[in-house]
């Protein structure tokens, strides 16, 4: 980047010295220069699953910056500049990374910033972020197309599609679906559970369960009575980090003691990003969740 600045400022001085004639020449030479698109892509990747897919395609060296939701693989945020939260991007910050393309999850913004970026000539592509298998596969294909990596993308999407198909097959063997509750954390001892219209809800469905908290929308804190009423057969703890602390012996006290899950001591802990990210690893995550929910089905296939 420093190099680029040095180069352009040298050009700036040249223009100032030589005046309009030189400017005209510069215009000509600019017209003759190779188009930006043909140069190597420099991507700002905004959205966890998008970054994950680019890494999975082995194109990580084309990423010049990521956003704070790009949690996987961990080296993304460790090694790449961070342009901030996907809803609060900085126009100049993004441009400072000299990108030629920004791939962002739908909902990235603010809209004014996106407008500025587009007016600065940056190509901005927004990708659908629905928590669905179709969306995952579409995202892989689209990113492959954008990066001109059709073959690796094809391979990845075929693999993922196959995994999803296997998942469908396995799901059909489930005799009695379990009521599953995905918990994102505890606040003063009360569980924050995932209702409908969440990635967790979609994941439960993929893994062949029924969302025990399906009576509500979004993520909400559940009262003790609501927990008992939801009657989950299994609890899934979505862990934000490795050091997430569970209330000691969750089944020994409170409302969870009275749930069917307590009887079988079914508590599944999985990484939140892995579980809810809806990226290339989602099929695996769903397989894993299914295997842990239905140990007998697990024998069928990984």
């Amino acid at each position: 980047m420093l190099q680029a600045v040095g180069q352009t400022s040298a050009k700036g001085r040249g223009i100032r010295r030589a005046g309009k004639l030189m400017l005209a020449l510069a215009l000509l030479s600019a017209a003759g220069a190779p188009s930006i698109a043909a140069e190597r892509l420099q991507i700002v990747s905004v959205g966890g699953s998008i970054t994950e897919i680019i890494y999975a395609l082995g194109a990580q060296e084309r990423i010049v910056a990521v956003d704070t939701t790009s949690l996987y693989p961990p080296e993304a945020l460790r090694t790449k500049p961070n342009v901030g939260y996907l809803r609060a991007l900085s126009a100049e910050g993004v441009l400072s990374q000299n990108p030629t393309l920004m791939i962002a999850a739908e909902g990235a913004g603010p809209a004014d910033t996106l407008g500025l970026l587009k007016s600065a000539g940056l190509r901005v592509v927004l990708l659908d972020e629905q928590p669905s298998t179709k969306s995952v596969i579409d995202k892989i294909d689209e990113i492959g197309r954008l990066l001109d990596l059709k073959e690796p993308a094809q391979a990845l999407s075929t693999k993922v599609r196959k995994e999803f198909e296997d998942l469908d097959a396995r799901r059909k063997t489930i005799a009695k679906p379990l009521r599953v509750m995905v918990i994102l954390g505890f606040q003063s001892g009360r569980a924050m559970a995932a209702g409908r219209k969440t990635a967790a809800d979609a994941m439960i469905a993929l893994a062949g369960g029924i969302n025990a908290a399906g009576a509500m929308d979004n993520y909400k804190q559940l009262s003790d009575e609501a927990v008992i009423d939801a009657a989950p057969d299994a609890l899934v703890m979505a862990q934000r980090g490795d050091d997430d602390v569970l209330p000691a012996n969750i089944f020994d006290h409170g409302a969870f003691k009275a749930t069917p899950a307590a009887a079988t001591h079914t508590l599944i802990q999985m990484n939140a990003n892995y579980l809810l990210g809806f990226g290339p690893r989602t099929a695996q995550a769903a397989h894993e969740l299914m295997s842990r929910l239905y140990p007998t089905t697990a024998a069928a296939k990984p």
């Binding site: 420093l2 680029a4 600045v5 180069q7 352009t8 400022s9 050009k11 700036g12 001085r13 223009i15 100032r16 309009k20 400017l23 510069a26 215009l27 600019a30 017209a31 220069a33 930006i36 910056a65 704070t68 500049p81 961070n82 342009v83 901030g84 939260y85 809803r87 609060a88 991007l89 900085s90 126009a91 100049e92 910050g93 993004v94 441009l95 400072s96 990374q97 909902g107 913004g109 603010p110 809209a111 004014d112 910033t113 996106l114 407008g115 500025l116 007016s119 600065a120 000539g121 219209k197 969440t198 929308d217 979004n218 993520y219 909400k220």
Partner: protein, 368 residues
């Protein structure tokens, strides 16, 4: 009698000293504003050294569209004129508006704790913004981009204005506005708005919750010339009314009755003050969310430095507020570059300790 003459001479020299101090204050502040703008122009995640500014300005004015001169120059020109400059101008306008509004509201409510949003603007705007973030799509049916660029700012502006008009209506009886009633009603309204926002937070999803949080912390990230062109007239109105309002504010510091005795059209001053502040702060909040602390700290800081006379305090509040916000924003976009830090965090981080330091070292006999 000669003793009195001697005292009179002392008083004159004291007054002359104060005047010199005020003039010096204006000079220093003007320099600070200019310096902060230059620093802000040349700092950001994209390195544009000061000596390059001139070349960029030349290229923009020479060639009709700078986009063709050279890619690097074109990009830098675009960053400078379409991203950084509108941001700086917006920061200047908002800082000035918040500084002046804070000083005016403190004077109007005769309360040193008053902030620019005290007359309901903040509560109303925050509630409207939260409403749009959480339920805007259901209510208006517009897409996300239109929501963020037009509908939400408009809603925040109207929300602030409606809240202010409501409070003003409650506090005004027979053509007389009771600032005490307005203050109390404002507290009740703020509590009510907070409760409604709490309700909205309860039904919001993760992303909406984060949007509300970011909005509350304020940001100049989305600044563009369009926003500047909307904000500028409102702020100009407020700044233009300063000389008129300053005299009234000085008299009002002795109370409404005393101000009336002095010939101040108290009700007109109150109304003009509330309307102009509501417009300027409302449009500011709509453009950049709530930016705290500038409006409360800047006037007090200046009172400690140059005294309470509003004729100097108001323009200086405008200048100091503008400089503070420009500097805070320059830091906001460089400190965690290429990300942006919400500016509200920085105004409090810069203003808070400085204010505390001033309070600690000040002369004991100055009481706010």
């Amino acid at each position: 009698m000669s003793a009195e003459a001697a005292t009179a001479a002392q008083v004159r020299s004291f007054v002359a000293g104060r005047k010199r101090r005020t003039h010096l204050g204006f000079l220093i502040l003007a320099l600070v504003v200019i310096l902060s703008v230059v620093v802000a122009l040349t700092s950001g995640p994209i390195a544009i050294p000061p000596q390059r500014l001139w070349a960029l300005a030349r290229s923009t004015f020479d060639g009709q569209s700078s986009g063709q001169s050279s890619p690097g120059l074109a990009r830098d020109a675009l960053v400078l004129f379409n991203i950084r400059l509108p941001r700086i101008v917006l920061a200047l306008l908002l800082g000035a508006a918040l500084g002046v509004s804070g000083a005016l509201m403190q004077g109007l409510f005769r309360n040193p704790l008053a902030d620019p949003g005290i007359a309901g603007i903040s509560s109303g705007a925050a509630l409207a913004a939260a409403l749009m973030i959480v339920l805007g799509h259901h209510i208006t049916g517009v897409d996300a981009a239109l929501m963020q660029t037009v509908v939400m700012p408009l809603a925040a502006f109207l929300g602030g204005l409606i809240a202010t008009m409501f409070l003003y209506g409650i506090a005004t009886r027979e053509g007389q506005t009771s600032v005490a009633t307005m203050l109390l009603a404002g507290i009740a309204l703020a509590a009510l708005a907070m409760a409604c926002i709490g309700l909205l937070i309860f039904i919001s999803d993760d992303r909406q919750l984060r949007d509300i949080t970011f909005w509350t912390l304020g940001s100049l990230g989305g600044a563009n010339w369009q926003k500047v062109s909307v904000v500028a007239p409102m702020v100009t109105l407020l700044l233009g009314a300063m000389p008129f309002l300053a005299r009234g504010m000085n008299a009002l510091s002795m109370g409404g009755a005393a101000a009336f005795h002095l010939g101040v059209p108290v009700q007109i001053i109150k109304t003009v003050c509330i309307v102009l502040v509501a417009l300027a702060v409302g449009v500011s909040v709509a453009a950049a969310g709530t930016i705290g602390f500038v409006g409360i700290v800047v006037p007090h800081l200046l009172r400690l430095a140059i005294g309470a006379d509003y004729r100097a305090l108001l323009p200086m509040s405008a200048m100091a507020g503008a400089a503070l916000l420009v500097i805070a924003d320059a830091i906001a976009r460089t400190i965690v570059a290429p990300a942006d830090l919400p500016i509200g965090i920085l105004t409090a981080l810069i203003g808070g300790p400085f204010f505390l330091w001033l309070l600690l070292r000040r002369n004991r006999n100055i009481d706010l």
